[in-house]
Symmetry: C2
Subunit: 195 residues, 2 copies
Amino acid sequence: MNNKKIQEERIKGYFIEATKNIIKSEGISNVSTRNIANEAGYSYATLYNYFKDVKELVFYCVQDFQEEGEIFILGKVKELSFGKERIKSISQAYVDFFLEYPNYFELFYLERLSDVSSTKQIAHLITSFLDRMSKADWEYCIKNNIYTRENAEQIKSQLNFAINGALLIYLNRKTPESYTEFLQVVEKLINGILD
Amino acid sequence: MNNKKIQEERIKGYFIEATKNIIKSEGISNVSTRNIANEAGYSYATLYNYFKDVKELVFYCVQDFQEEGEIFILGKVKELSFGKERIKSISQAYVDFFLEYPNYFELFYLERLSDVSSTKQIAHLITSFLDRMSKADWEYCIKNNIYTRENAEQIKSQLNFAINGALLIYLNRKTPESYTEFLQVVEKLINGILD
DNA sequence: ACAAACATATTAACACTGTTAATTATATTT
DNA sequence: AAATATAATTAACAGTGTTAATATGTTTGT
């Protein structure tokens, strides 16, 4: 009974790993059942013994990619102490992460959700990512009267929406046109919201 | 020479009209060459005599949908006079428009662009939509010292990113879960940015 | 009026896609 | 070793976008 579960999880893991590799290297538009199965070393139909559909499988990658993101972001702010400046740096690093891995942004925000049960949790995982990364800093700011709790909630929400909106428009609508221009826009945006 | 151009534009129009109808009623995921051609009264391959690919055709709909949006938004703010409150109402109406026609938001922001030449103009049309709708109000505010020009640019940018980010997360990630909750979030967001 | 040239529309075909059912292969249990 | 359960595979279906070859209609020159 337990062995069966372990083996099942292992095989699921092979499919997830294969999917991750394809998203990482070729982007989500190149993800297909045949493609995944080939990379995983199975036939394409085997996938359906372990996942409801290919969308469910694809969204299983979110968790792992987010762990990558956490490491990426924390690596960029590790020598900073809690506070407003660290929130700025985390926000900046969050943008940098998706600039370096635009395929992840596609998965996180652009890909249509499936109607499977786990969807809600994944969606929550995604939308609370930035907040989670800067949680301690916000608490610090509130405790030190830099922001009121109410004020903090408001600004946090603004920041999250604005940053993801900016990424959406840059990555999916190529506006502004140049990379450096976008970096300037983001910097102004973050400072404008937090100050 | 001119007749030919006229006829060509007419037939293009039939395809665009067909595509618009499908997007409107069934959503962008149900758009297909066969589907469009059937609605337009042609064979699916005929499409390629008039458009480089189906994505080019699909993005031709943006202009018409935006005109719908303009009418929708202006209809909701027509008795207001220029100023900050009108910017708020326009922003609110902008959100309302995409809440009523989420398929349009998908096309405007979620659909992957083609690499055809006209892409850049369409992308610009999309990303400057909200700014265009409130252009006169911003000028009014600057002239009346409600905002400095620099300040206005900053806030306009924040507003645009945040609103589209909020729509992205609500429409594509179902966060927050309820409609009414989202309306509250948006109202707070708009007020928070503009005040 | 007729044939040649051109423009346009259609069908057939290709290489894909996700998904399901039937079939085969592999373990497991009796 | 035989019977049973489990898992993986192939075949098939109904789609997709796109292209090439074919058929149709229109215009032009003789």
